[in-house]
Subunit: 345 residues, 2 copies
């Protein structure tokens, strides 16, 4: 049933001009700013840590492709939406640079993180530079003939999304200080931290493509629900994913005490919750992991998470049909959504 | 000669609606985001560290007043420019929150800094929230009937300014790793870190007020040169300021090894440079301070800095006359510029 060929063809056509636009916004500069932009280009996967060109793992560019697909799906020319797509991807990467500092993560995409290489002060500031450049990129829509009123509306949606991202990150950081977090609180957190940017990618693409508010809102709902489903899929893989496929340890999120959806469900469960909470307050090694997995399985946490995922996925597909009618079926958006949810890594 | 009454009357008229706009953008939110916005409101001087209202030192709001004065000076209605003024002040405060982390400063305006109270991860993220809200504030120009093409132009200038701020901060952080920095490099750094935002305050105010590009450019030059003069005045006070007036130790910037303009000039001086460089590589206590002050005085560093200040000030005044003609003399902008440069704290 799954047909990813429409998605693959779209990506093949549009990734090169997208990449060119991002390089034009973030690209290398002359002395004395060369190392400043070098840090950003390192993070984007274009340079090594000595600022020499190379081809490094750079993320899947899902969000900018959503912008361009939404634009095309509503009858617009993706060429016009390229600055918006670049803007969204640069913003996403800014948030990763700061998240890595805030979480103390030393490795991303198999390379040392920006703060680990150049220190926290320079990494905070390089992230701020990318944040600023993401807005500069969005204003470049005007150079492609997009009506100024549309550019302002896109910038308005984009700013609101940035605020939601930081609200979500605030909740995520504050959850670390707490033992229990309710499922509703968790959904609110990932709505800001993960789903808001996916949703905005679609609605901004639709806006640039000339969609009505109704269609734009439906695409936003599609993005929001697919974003939630995507995060929950990530949560399931983080506990039950096959290490030979994910490249991470079995039960990786439990070892890291990560309060993902299945864990939160089990921590609140009337039968196993108290026991899991005691376990949670110590270092979880391989011995404790076995017990934790048993408790999770007893609580049906996986079934609960899979049911949630199914509901958000269905709601997303309904929104896509609201937006595109029968064309939804053949849209690369459908292929991308199914691909995201079927993934094993 | 100095007439500050036009400035005082302007501030009295426009600070209340400016403050109301900023509170509307950054104001307190409901659970669960109350502490997130609470951190921002604490930094703005509206709340104490328990998030209770109070009246704390909050900065002089120079930049937003420049926006409104420029708008009025070119014949516009400052009321329309309020969102731009709020945006610039929120951006300025975002940059202070991040600078405090990057510099490890524990106190600002006699209160503990955000990172000192709530930790580095939350402080980085609260700063990011303010950064996002500064853009959201700028898009609110559209709600006051400003033409969308003007709003896009303002957002474009604003984004470029944010990039310059981070470039300047990159240089400032990288100078800390070096023993000597040339005067030209230093001017380049403060052009980004200090002068760019003052210049943008004026040109964005002019833009919203409907000024021609020629007038906008002249006001930009005014802001740029006054910004440089302002920073150099700060540098002179940081070494020779009267402790009973500045509230800081005598020779404060020397004690902190701060590479300000007079210090850089003396560090490169053919006669005293080598000796000062040796001194610079150790902790400077009260004993060494006496010697350092002697070396600075021998190098005529103060005369050099005062001459630079005078040149930038004159260049700024010339630009103001280019922009406003004979009206420059009675403009509150003149009063503000003179006030900034005459200040003793």
């Amino acid at each position: 049933m799954l047909d990813s060929s429409a998605f693959d063809a779209f990506a093949l056509r549009w990734l090169p001009p997208l990449e060119a636009e991002m390089r034009s916004v973030l690209g290398s500069r002359q002395t004395p700013y060369q190392p400043f932009y070098g840090m950003m280009n390192y993070h984007m996967g274009w340079l090594n840590e000595d600022f020499q060109p190379g081809n490094f793992s750079a993320g899947k560019r899902i969000r900018p492709l959503l912008v361009l697909m939404a634009c095309q799906a509503v009858g617009g020319d993706p060429e016009q939406a390229i600055p918006a797509a670049a803007s969204i991807e640069i913003l996403h990467n800014f948030s990763l640079v700061h998240d890595d500092i805030e979480d103390g993560d030393e490795v991303r995409r198999h390379r040392r993180t920006v703060w680990k290489l150049w220190g926290v002060p320079q990494a905070i500031n390089a992230g701020d530079g990318m944040f600023a450049l993401s807005f500069l990129s969005m204003t470049r829509l005007a150079e492609r003939g997009v009506d100024p009123a549309i550019v302002v509306a896109a910038l308005d949606q984009f700013s609101c999304t940035c605020v939601k991202l930081t609200e979500g990150q605030y909740l995520d950081l504050s959850f670390e200080e707490r033992l229990t977090v309710s499922v509703d609180e968790y959904i609110q957190m990932i709505s800001g931290k993960t789903a808001a940017l996916l949703a905005a990618s679609l609605s901004i693409g639709a806006l640039v493509g000339g969609a009505s508010d109704t269609v734009g809102d439906a695409l936003y709902r599609f993005g929001h629900n697919i974003g939630l489903a995507f995060q929950i899929r990530d949560d399931i893989l983080g506990i039950w994913g096959d290490p030979s496929v994910t490249g991470k340890a079995a039960g990786n999120d439990l070892l890291r005490h990560k309060k993902s959806l299945p864990a939160l469900y089990a921590l609140e469960h009337p039968e196993v919750g108290a026991q899991l909470q005691r376990l949670w307050s110590y270092t979880i090694g391989n011995k404790q992991l076995h017990l934790a997995m048993d408790l999770l399985n007893k609580s049906d946490a996986r079934t609960f998470a899979e049911e949630k995922l199914r509901i958000y996925h269905e709601e997303g597909m309904r929104a896509l049909t609201d937006a595109l009618g029968t064309q939804a079926l053949s849209s690369p958006l459908m292929g991308l959504a199914d691909g995201l949810l079927a993934r094993q890594t």
